[in-house]
């Protein structure tokens, strides 16, 4: 080994001088070029539920394309389209069958005992199960090497099998139809999905598991660097947060598609600066929520700005809930559009207060083939306030990662 280690710096130096060439510029005086930090975001009908089939029929889903490689490989790679951009979760989760269709196999991370690490992640609509694996992930010109991601095992019989408490009775949502997406790109306010809670619990939380070769999985604590991780935090630059930039919609009854952008970094380049005035910065608590009060209610609710939710989601017993059609369970307000508002308040140092007005449309008036709707509201029975996708149209939304600094602001925060 020793001769190679000695040679490596010499080789690198030789290559570097070859690259600089004969134009007289010394490598030392030129700042490295800033990475291309803009990724296209598309709102459309989503991926096909099955290969070659029609789009799944998603609404208000913001998608990006993510390049995934087996660590260290230049060839075992796949560009996965229709990955859901989710500012309300943390970490990249990819559907196993989609990776398999690209012939990409990501091996499971192992714990200190050599057991494969698996994860059970809970969403309100169900749970995901599958191994935590390492991948080299590239988005635009930004790369996160050896990123812990979750591979959602959508085989009929997952292996290893999920623990009894994970996804019981058909509530596993590992497949493309579970998320209306080929994966979920969680770019929320934290660096890891679970954090300290899953590092030092006296009784390990039912989140991370160590799985034996025989497929027996037991809940265990997992160190932070092995947890499913926000890819932005592993970028060499532009690693303090993101900006989601979507245009206003053209039609109140729905647009066919929307094009926007995801910008990596906050106040790191010329295209992601903090505005001098007018920015509302809402710090979150240790759960990732700021506070909101809705309309005439005085109840203080946990709140977040969440591109993974397709609507403004909150409880209002005064609103009619759709009982038929394709929006059952959402609000079908009488006399739409209704004007409503909520007051957001940040937690901690970033304690801004901001009143946001919004309109609620009647989804029974929505155009059938549209995929983007600005006035969609739902969430009856919810004990929180979620600024879902409609909030993003016509705004720049900033997500600042915990403990990362951007200008005068330190995460975690949401801002607009």
């Amino acid at each position: 080994m020793r001769p190679i280690m000695v040679m490596a710096p010499l080789l690198a130096a030789a290559m570097l001088s070859a690259c600089v060439g004969g134009n007289g510029t010394s490598a030392a005086s030129v700042a490295p070029p800033m990475p291309q930090n803009t990724l296209a975001v598309t709102v459309d009908a989503g991926p096909p539920a099955a290969s070659g089939g029609p789009p799944i029929g998603a609404i208000n889903h913001a998608y990006v394309t993510v390049k995934v490689c087996v660590p260290g490989s230049q060839t075992e790679c796949a560009s996965i389209d229709h990955v859901l951009l989710d500012t309300g979760s943390v970490g990249l989760r990819l559907v196993r069958s989609v990776l398999a269709a690209h012939a990409v196999t990501l091996g499971a991370e192992t714990d200190a005992q050599g057991r494969a690490i698996g994860e059970c992640m809970s969403f309100a609509g169900g749970q995901t199960w599958g191994p935590v694996a390492l991948a080299d992930v590239t988005m635009a010109g930004e790369s996160a090497g050896k990123l812990p991601v979750q591979v959602m095992d959508d085989r009929t019989v997952p292996s290893p099998a999920p623990p009894a408490t994970c996804g019981a009775n058909g509530t596993l949502i590992n497949g493309v139809s579970g998320f209306n997406a080929n994966g979920v790109l969680g770019l929320g306010v934290f660096a890891q999905d679970c954090g300290q809670l899953c590092v030092g619990a006296a009784t390990p939380q039912a989140v991370y598991y160590g799985c034996t070769a025989a497929g027996v999985c037991t809940a265990e604590n997992v160190i932070l660097t092995d947890q499913v991780t926000n890819p932005v935090t592993l970028f060499a630059a532009d690693n303090n947060g993101i900006i989601v930039n979507l245009p206003n919609l053209k039609n109140a009854n729905g647009d066919a598609t929307v094009q926007g952008e995801l910008i990596f970094g906050i106040a790191t380049q010329t295209n992601n600066g903090l505005p001098a005035t007018g920015l509302t910065v809402l710090g979150t608590d240790s759960s990732g929520d700021f506070k909101a009060t809705y309309y005439t209610s005085t109840t203080v609710l946990p709140a977040l700005i969440d591109s993974g939710t397709d609507s403004y989601a909150f409880n209002d017993p005064a609103l009619t809930v759709c009982s038929s059609g394709s929006f059952i369970g959402y609000y079908c307000p009488v006399g739409a559009p209704l004007s409503r508002s909520a007051v957001n308040t940040g937690v901690g140092a970033n304690n801004a207060t901001s009143t946001v007005n919004f309109a609620i449309e009647d989804p029974t008036t929505f155009v059938a083939n549209a995929t983007a709707f600005t006035g969609l509201a739902g969430g009856p029975g919810s004990s929180r306030f979620i600024w879902g996708m409609p909030f993003f149209y016509g705004r720049q939304v900033y997500v600042g990662i915990e403990a990362r600094v951007a200008g005068i602001y330190t995460g975690p925060y949401y801002a607009y």
């Binding site: 019981a168 009775n169 998320f179 759960s287 919810s382 979620i386």
Partner: protein, 156 residues
């Protein structure tokens, strides 16, 4: 909240009651009082009981801020449960025999996908569940079994 009367700690649950109930009492919602210590053991939590006029409110406090409440009617039946905490508790355990109806309703959602708030409601069962990693909350109740004069708004 003003809890009083009965306080059982984790040690008691593990040493005294756990062995009797774990494995035989899996129902919570719709089940009997036996489900409370069983769930406490599952959560490795302490139980506080607040005796209200028409029901007992049994609160289990677990690690990391996990909290489960079970509403026990005078007929000895758990008519409601609620939860909040950094992880989603085992809803199969908390909803007991009603979990099947809940899971079937989830699959029937018109726009499934990633959800941070779901509500399932029938004349027999109401489940409201929401949240995200590090912050989940929800409740479930059996409308027909709520004691007369008690509002569903008391189930928090």
């Amino acid at each position: 909240m003003n809890f009083h009367s009965v306080t059982r700690n984790l040690l008691f649950a593990v040493l005294g009651v756990n062995a009797l109930w774990v494995g035989c009492a899996h129902a919570a919602l719709g089940g009997d009082a036996a489900s409370v210590p069983a769930d406490a053991a599952e959560l490795h939590g302490a139980v506080n009981t607040e005796i209200r006029q028409q029901y007992d409110l049994q609160e289990i406090s677990g690690e990391g801020g996990m909290r489960v409440r079970e509403y026990l009617g005078r007929d000895g039946v758990v008519f409601a449960v609620s939860w909040s905490g950094p992880v989603l508790p085992d809803l199969q355990r908390l909803l007991g025999t009603h979990f099947a109806e809940y899971s079937a309703a989830l699959k029937a959602l018109t726009h499934p996908g990633l959800q941070r708030s779901v509500r399932v409601a029938s004349s027999e069962l109401v489940v409201e569940s929401g949240g995200h990693m590090r912050s989940y909350a929800g409740r479930a109740y059996l409308p027909a079994l709520i004691p007369a004069g008690v509002s569903a708004a008391e189930i928090l």
